[in-house]
């Protein structure tokens, strides 16, 4: 069927699509979107073929590698351009190309009136290619190329409507904050090369036993920094909210389903490092737990539907990071939550796009309400995603989140109890803010502006939403059926340690469902059964105000990094001009000045010259006399 030599086409198709559409220019305006969609779909079909091929092979032969050429070779530093497809990357390949293709289809209609639609599709293709490279690279350096590639695609897409200065700034902010994370990845690669002499996943895995724990901890922390940048985790989370400046399909694909989960991929891929570095692992869990709550709190206060969903994304990725930080017990569940989240969050973002499409691009949920009747398909698909994310059985999110909470409780000791409680608290808040979104948008009374006539979106838009909704309903069940996903991924990870179940699974399930009921009820009390103002009330508690301002993350960054940085820059500009260049000019003026002084002796009077000669001669004679005495 398909062999390893076709791996390159997984990336090649969308990459070709991007390059071709960008180079050919406006000539392709009429069919560029179809072309790009076909490239993405081609990638997906190829991915499916590989998946079937892979599942037909025995467990130990499932990973395949294609080496294209030697990329960099200097001394002992050798990195091939090589692709690795194993059980983990195939999950991502299917998610990326599958959800990606759906979003391509959706965008055909969503972006129909944009004069730069071709360019948009070229960027989408570029993103798919870079993201596939990220998950297919067989070394940290190959991953790094994809890692920054998705950053570039994300930059281009967030700033797609960069005519608005705020949007252009948002794209720049995202890129720069990502670069801080990338720096972590660079460090990790450098340390790995310096200590193990290789940057291949395989090579690093084999060397782990021979390297001291401090080194592994350092690598782990650096990888974690990289993950926090890309996955919008604390403390590098501030860019994600602003990234909603991009067109909504972008938010769905990049900033919900795929790119932001790259951090989770990185940690799970590096499981052998984290398993051997408990301190780094603990930090991973802490970062995940903080972000989980952080995002959820912000999500409660946001009136902008996309920003509320973005905060939710941040929080859900927090769950995944917690899962990934729990070691062999949690890796598979982190990936499971990642996949189910890919379905329901992408679906909800597309739903939000559909709502905006019908509401003249209004994003303020306080201006929505009552859309259930006018946009039934959007309501149903969004609703299914909603049920999935809050974790109502038997929807997808229930399975994946439940497992993470259970694993957290069972990680033992005080850590287990704290983590379990945090994840449960997160579940309560999630249920609250998602119900709030649901109520404000669909079920409360209409608060539309005048002249707004909401309508259902065309088929090209609701079809992808419907498919994703089916995924949101069934994915969790399918993945857990006979431990399908866990056993699929198991060969990649160390064996789970046997542990006593401190908290039986059934108890966790009851707790989780209780949490959901609490959250939903609270939200219904506050929003469904009371009238909602079309203008956000201003006499609110300090906590709400803080949450509306993203818990001061921007204020913090500006005060600690941006303004001192600007001051430093301005200071250095002055230093350069006045001190360093000033010193140079000072030497120049000194030469000029001494010249001006000495010039006075050049009076132009022959007699004075003659006198000087005379004096000089006498001095010379005197000198000779003194010397010869």
């Amino acid at each position: 069927m398909v062999t390893a030599s076709s791996l390159v086409y997984l990336i090649g198709l969308p990459l070709f699509g991007a390059a071709f559409l960008l180079l050919i220019g406006r000539k392709a305006d009429k069919w560029g979107h179809i072309f790009a969609t076909a490239m993405s779909a081609g990638s997906f079909i190829l991915g499916l073929l590989h998946f079937f091929e892979m599942s037909s092979r025995a467990t130990e032969d499932r990973a395949i590698t294609q080496t294209l050429f030697t990329w960099i070779e200097v001394g002992s530093f050798k990195v091939d351009a090589a692709l690795l497809l194993d059980q983990l990357s195939i999950c991502f390949v299917l998610l990326i190309s599958g959800v990606g293709t759906l979003i391509h289809i959706y965008s055909i209609s969503y972006m129909a009136h944009d004069e730069n639609r071709r360019r948009f599709f070229a960027y989408l293709n570029l993103f798919i290619a870079a993201m596939l490279l990220l998950v297919l690279g067989n070394s940290y350096l190959n991953l790094y190329v994809g890692w920054e590639g998705v950053g570039l695609a994300s930059y281009l897409l967030i700033g797609f409507w960069n005519k608005k200065p705020a949007y252009a700034t948002a794209s720049k902010k995202a890129f720069v904050m990502n670069r801080i994370g990338d720096m972590g990845l660079s460090f990790a690669i450098m340390i790995a090369f310096a200590t193990m002499g290789t940057v291949l996943f395989e090579g690093v895995k084999e060397s782990v036993d021979r390297v001291g724990t401090p080194t592994l901890t350092a690598i782990g922390i650096m990888l974690l920094i990289a993950a926090t940048g890309k996955s919008a985790q604390f403390p590098l989370q501030a860019w994600l909210g602003d990234a909603m400046a991009g067109p909504t399909p972008v938010s769905a694909l990049i900033h919900a389903a795929t790119m932001v989960t790259a951090g989770v991929y990185l940690i799970v891929r590096s499981n052998f490092i984290f398993d051997a570095a408990p301190t780094a692992q603990l930090l991973v869990v802490i970062v995940g737990a903080i972000t989980l709550i952080f995002g959820a709190i912000i999500g409660m206060a946001k009136d902008d539907i996309k920003k509320a969903l973005a905060a939710s994304t941040m929080s859900q990725i927090g769950y995944m990071i917690v899962g990934a930080g729990l070691g062999p017990a949690g890796y598979a569940f982190a990936i499971m939550h990642l996949l189910t989240h890919g379905f329901f969050k992408a679906g909800m973002f597309l739903g939000a796009g559909s709502v905006m499409h019908g509401m003249n691009d209004e994003v303020n949920m306080r201006k929505y309400g009552g859309l259930r009747k006018v946009m039934p398909i959007t309501f149903v698909t969004f609703g299914l995603g909603y049920l999935a994310i809050i974790g109502v059985p038997p929807f997808a999110g229930f399975y994946s989140k439940d497992e993470i909470i259970a694993t957290a409780f069972n990680s033992g000791g005080a850590q287990g109890i704290i983590l379990g409680s945090v994840t449960l608290l997160g579940a309560v808040i999630t249920a609250f803010y998602m119900t709030r979104v649901m109520v404000l948008t669909f079920t409360s009374k209409a608060r539309w502006d005048e002249g707004v006539h909401p309508h259902e979106s065309p088929v090209l838009m609701w079809l992808p939403m419907a498919i994703l909704a089916i995924g949101s309903v069934t994915a969790g069940y399918l993945f857990t059926q006979g431990d399908a996903l866990v056993s699929w991924l198991a060969p990649l990870f160390a064996k789970k340690e046997e542990y006593d179940e401190l908290m039986p699974h059934s108890v966790v399930t009851v707790l989780a469902i209780t949490a959901v009921i609490i959250g939903v009820t609270a939200a219904l009390m506050k929003y469904q059964f009371k009238s909602v103002d079309a203008i956000a009330p201003s006499d609110v508690s300090l906590a709400t105000r803080l949450a509306r301002n993203d818990l001061g993350q921007d204020l913090f960054n500006e005060a600690i990094f941006m303004r001192p940085g600007q001051a430093l820059t301005q200071g250095l500009v002055i230093v350069d001009e006045k001190v360093i260049d000033g010193a140079v000019h000072g030497i120049g003026s000194m030469a000029v000045g001494s010249g001006a002084t000495l010039r006075r002796t050049q009076s132009g009077y022959v007699r004075s010259y003659a006198a000087l000669i005379l004096v000089g001669a006498l001095v010379l004679l005197a000198a000779i006399w003194v010397v010869t005495q």
């Binding site: 009076s603 132009g604 022959v606 003659a610 005379l614």
Partner: protein, 99 residues
């Protein structure tokens, strides 16, 4: 007569010439003073020739005379040219090279 007296005379002449160059303004006078110094030099050369009893000093003195003659030709020509254009033979007026 003691030949060293000629040396004292030459020194005296040279000093007069040097002082003349430094203090006088008239180009002609300065010029004559320069000649005086040259000739003081000649006198020394000849004197030493006499003291040492060979002809080297006298030969050099002839060279000096030739050079002095050439110098007079060029120098006077310059002075005349300057006088013609500036109506003055004062060397202080000819300080145009200052800038």
């Amino acid at each position: 007569m003691d030949p060293y007296n000629y040396l004292y005379l030459a020194a005296l002449l040279f000093t007069i010439g040097a002082v003349g160059v430094v203090v006088r303004r008239n180009a002609i006078v300065v010029f004559m003073c320069i000649e005086l110094m040259l000739n003081a030099g000649n006198l020394t050369l000849v004197t030493f020739s006499r003291i040492n009893g060979d002809l080297n000093g006298q030969v050099v003195a002839f060279f000096t005379m030739v050079v002095a003659a050439c110098e007079v030709v060029v120098g006077l020509a310059i002075i005349v040219a300057i006088y013609r254009s500036r109506r003055s033979a004062s060397i202080d007026d000819a300080s145009l090279l200052k800038r």
